[in-house]
Amino acid sequence: MDVTILGHGCKNCDALEARTVEALAGLGRTAEVAHIKDDAQIAAYGVMRTPALVADGRVLVEGQVPTAARLAEILATVPAT
């Protein structure tokens, strides 16, 4: 699974990244978590609120920072490849 965080390195974006890593570890899944901070690239995803979480090219979370537990539920819906 391909996981990307979109955001400008604000506090919320870092929180989302940390919680995503935590959630993935809890699920026992391995994935590289990339962090895109470039405005133009963020726009290319069609995201209008940051931070956002993208997994396998699909935007799963936008404009909020769910808890690690909720993120684990959301990430669990992404089929393993």
């Binding site: 400008h8 133009a40 995803y45 069609g46 609120r49 940051t50 936008e62 909720r70 819906t77």
Partner: protein, 355 residues
């Protein structure tokens, strides 16, 4: 009609329904009760228990401070929570779809309405701006949104309603809206594309703008979001709020009415201009300014001057300009500030003349 089939399986219901709804319901009940007894509580404590004199300066200022702090904190928490829940239903993607292909004029009005109803937090101003422009929303229309969003601030609106009643609150909302529409139209006429960073315009017309949206949130998600947002907002603004109420209390108790009347009273023709010039560099949320407005009004400063001061403080802030610099050239930022400030000055004089 059946629910649209979502791409994802429904999230597992992690909490029973009463566990989701009971905490906010209990919080609203407790807050409402405290709000209702707030005045009597401090009357009893200060006059009867501590034995202060209600007519004394210290007594008056202290009562103002305590009563206002509790009142404003309760109002803010209750309102921000409710608004965040309501807003979770209006996504920027929906707004973008509404604005796409609208003419100027109509588009500016819709954009200003959306800016009032569902503003971006400043951290999302840049992706939001790019999202609008890349979808072909005209720049002037996008500017109407960007102006209305901080100018008509829901916290200010509710606090005005609480302190001064319906009249000033409606006046504030309507003028803020008008300024956003007109300023957007004016900027739209200036050919503003030349003052936008090129990468934003390159994204324009790209056919495959992905429609993002994230997962459809459950009610528990919306309420969780509202709780975190409310806590975050209160954490962020409480120093401003206490400072504002503290200064308000000081004015209430010690600053003589004559002094304020000379500086900012209705006799001074430059009152509004001075208020706006003072308000633009001064950055504070509505919650910090309103206690001040409250105290100054009691000392005889006219409403138009106060509304102008409040709008200038809330709508034009240096941190937001710095964020917008990522997508806008300094020239456009300067024009943005100038047009909005001019609108606020005009509104202030208009109110002072009419009211």
């Amino acid at each position: 009609m059946p629910e649209p089939i979502s791409l994802m399986p429904a999230p597992p219901q992690q909490r029973p329904r009463w566990r989701v709804w009971a905490p906010p319901a209990a919080a609203y009940a407790a807050g409402g009760l405290l709000y209702a007894v707030n005045g009597r509580l401090w009357d009893t404590l200060l006059w009867d228990v501590v034995g202060l004199d209600p007519a004394s300066r210290l007594g008056g200022a202290l009562h103002f401070f305590l009563y206002d702090t509790v009142k404003i904190l309760l109002l803010l928490a209750g309102i921000v929570y409710a608004i965040t829940v309501a807003r979770s239903f209006i996504t920027p993607e929906r707004m973008r779809a509404m604005l796409g292909g609208k003419r100027e004029g109509v588009g500016n009005a819709i954009a200003a309405t959306l800016g009032v109803a569902a503003p971006f937090c400043s951290c999302s101003a840049v992706p939001g701006f790019i999202g609008f422009v890349s979808a072909g929303v005209p720049l002037g229309v996008t500017m109407s949104f960007l102006i209305a969003s901080p100018l008509v601030n829901e916290v200010a609106l509710v606090l005005l309603l609480g302190s001064f009643g319906l009249g000033p609150a409606v006046l504030y909302a309507v003028t803020g809206f008008a300024i956003a529409v007109i300023a957007g139209l004016v900027i739209g006429r200036m050919n503003p594309e030349r003052w936008v960073e090129p990468f934003v315009l390159e994204a324009r017309g790209r056919t495959a703008v992905a429609m993002a949206g994230g997962l459809r949130p459950a009610w528990s998600d919306r309420l969780d979001l509202a709780r975190t947002e409310t806590v975050a907002l209160l954490r962020k603004i409480w120093p401003w709020l206490l400072a504002g109420i503290g200064i308000g209390a000081f004015i209430h108790g010690w600053v003589p009415e004559d002094l304020i009347a000379t500086i900012a009273g209705s006799d001074n023709p430059f009152g509004v201009l001075a208020a706006v010039a003072l308000g633009v560099p001064l950055y504070s949320g509505a919650a910090g300014v309103l206690p001040l407005v409250d105290a100054l009004f009691a000392k005889g400063v006219p409403m138009g001057t106060l509304l102008a001061f409040m709008m200038a403080t809330v709508a034009l802030s240096v941190p937001e300009m710095v964020i917008l610099r990522r997508v806008l050239r300094p020239r456009l930022i300067a024009i943005f500030v100038a047009v909005v400030a001019a609108g606020i000055v005009a509104a202030g004089y208009l109110f002072n003349a009419v009211l």
